[in-house]
């Protein structure tokens, strides 16, 4: 652990040093190749005039709304196609098909339906992550060892109890993988959508950086996008995943 921290610190310091050195050589003009200090100044300025904070909050709100809708939908559809064979054979193929479609391809339809609105971008986020969640839930449900269900039924479980107390807990490790993947798809879909048209938000800050020829701002915003993506993934999903895997006894298997 300690070794890793030292290694990473040294690596990134070195990287930034080289970057600063190359920028100082002045081979490319600063509007094409910014220096790390320039990027740092942009970050500071962006947070000082609140434009970054506002952008982050706007983007987070969209992604959270969209993500929660797709989690709810993905759980329902995943449970349905995981348990009902005829739905799996029909609806299941649609899910697989749409999963292959890059989420931004939904944007034209979303714009036609909702115009240049919040709803359109949220629809893109939902459709970007819904299928990943669905597939995770579906896989988890299909792989529930039948003996758990039989054991529960002989103890008198039936109907909704069977879902809430056996199927979902048994499928949880796979459901969480689906949620994790769904999150990363939602985040990507949002950025793609915001880049294309939305005002206010991280994607919009990128577009503005380009329009103002401010490459430092572009890189500053890219760093923010990466940091948010990784933080949520690590702090929420990886932690959750490890805890569940440990409790389910999957770690030392």
């Amino acid at each position: 652990m300690k070794r890793k921290v030292i290694l990473l610190t040294v690596f990134y310091l070195l990287l930034i040093g080289i970057w600063q050195g190359v920028a100082a050589l002045g081979i490319w003009p600063p509007y094409l190749f910014p220096s790390p200090s320039g990027v740092f100044d942009s970050l500071l300025a962006g947070f000082q005039d609140n434009s970054f904070t506002i952008g982050i909050l706007a983007s987070m709100k969209r992604v959270l709304i969209g993500y929660f809708i797709s989690v709810a939908g993905g759980l329902l559809i995943g449970l349905a196609i995981g348990r009902v064979k005829v739905l799996d054979e029909t609806v299941g193929t649609i899910v697989l098909g749409f999963q292959a479609l890059p989420s931004i391809c939904w944007l034209p339809i979303a714009l036609l339906w909702f115009g240049l609105s919040e709803s359109a971008i949220i629809l893109v986020v939902v459709l970007g992550s819904l299928f990943a969640v669905t597939i995770g839930v579906d896989a988890g449900v299909k792989n529930v060892p039948p003996i758990y269900l039989r054991a529960a039924r002989t103890m008198g479980a039936h109907g909704i109890d069977l879902y809430m107390k056996v199927i979902i807990p048994a499928a949880l490790p796979s459901i969480i993988s689906g949620l994790k993947q769904g999150w990363s798809f939602a985040w990507r879909a949002l950025m793609a959508g915001e880049l294309l048209y939305v005002s206010i938000g991280l994607g919009h800050l990128l577009t503005m950086g380009r329009e103002l020829n401010d490459i430092s701002q572009i890189i500053a915003v890219m760093i923010i996008i990466i940091v948010i993506g990784i933080t949520v993934d690590r702090l929420v999903f990886t932690k959750l995943e490890n805890r569940v895997r440990e409790r389910w006894g999957l770690l030392n298997a």
């Binding site: 003996i147 002989t154 103890m155 807990p169 949880l172």
Partner: protein, 351 residues
Amino acid sequence: MKTVNPPKKLDSLKPEKVIDLRQAICPHPLNVIRDTLRALRENDVLLAVSDHEPTALENAPRFCERRGYPFRTVEQEGVWNIFIQKVEDRDARLKVENVSKTFNSGDGKVSVLNDIDLTIRDGEFVTVVGSSGCGKSTLLNLIAGLDKPTSGRIFANGKRVEGPGSDRVVVFQEGALFPWLTVRENVEFGLKLRRVAPKIRKEMAQDYLKLVGLTENFHGSYVHQLSGGMKQRVALARALVMEPAILLMDEPFAALDIQTRESLQDELQRIWVESRKTIIFVTHNVEEAVILGDRVLVFAKNPGRIKSEHEIDIERPRQPGHPEVFLYTKWITDEIRENGEAVDEVQEAAV
């Protein structure tokens, strides 16, 4: 025990049927008596003649008491006559009537069970032994209501079996505990479904875990932290805590090493002696069947059917290697071998 037609008929000492157990060496008179009685009509009297004292006669009186058959023993010049009246099995816990089961497989239908008839009385400990694939688990699943018979009927606790119910809980071979719950939560699972209050639930779980011999410091553990033997103890506690009228066990000790298996066999016998629960225990190990069962049903294959049944009258607790256990085991194993049925497997298991 109630008898509608009092044993008055026995006073006349006029039997409808006589069997002489003095002839040749009759290895297991109880089986002969049982089978002969089965062929008789209600209230008929059977006279079994023996030159042993009845208690030595495979405990015929005990057999009659167990089943509620009125009987009388009369000694005449060293010859023992035991008069047994056949009465209906009034306290049947489980009745399996002409049950057959076929599965649809890739190339047509496979008959897995054929015309099974079986009555199990309240408090009986019945073991079912047979090589793998002969339909033992299928029968247990039908009784549990996890599957439906193709034809025939099953009655448990006086009601037709239509589906699973917690009056017939199954203990499976392995891997049926829920890994996302602690040991105690696993045991509380069924009680929670019954909406038992948390405090009572916890106490019951504790009591039953204690009953199966799991020390308190494991009650909070997760399933993957337990050894195979402990897991099966928990599985047993999880079934017993439901207080089912019938406990169904499908090779629950088959995956355990010998020492652990023997200690669990001891435990199960003790629990049965204390609770007199009706137990149907499936195994492919003849010795295990003899150690545990009052009655051993031998299953045959293709299609699955009950080939023979044996009354086991050995004092409990029975232990492996006990001479009587050994004799019964050998006898049943020999019988299976004679019929040329999947000898290897059963034989191997019997060793």
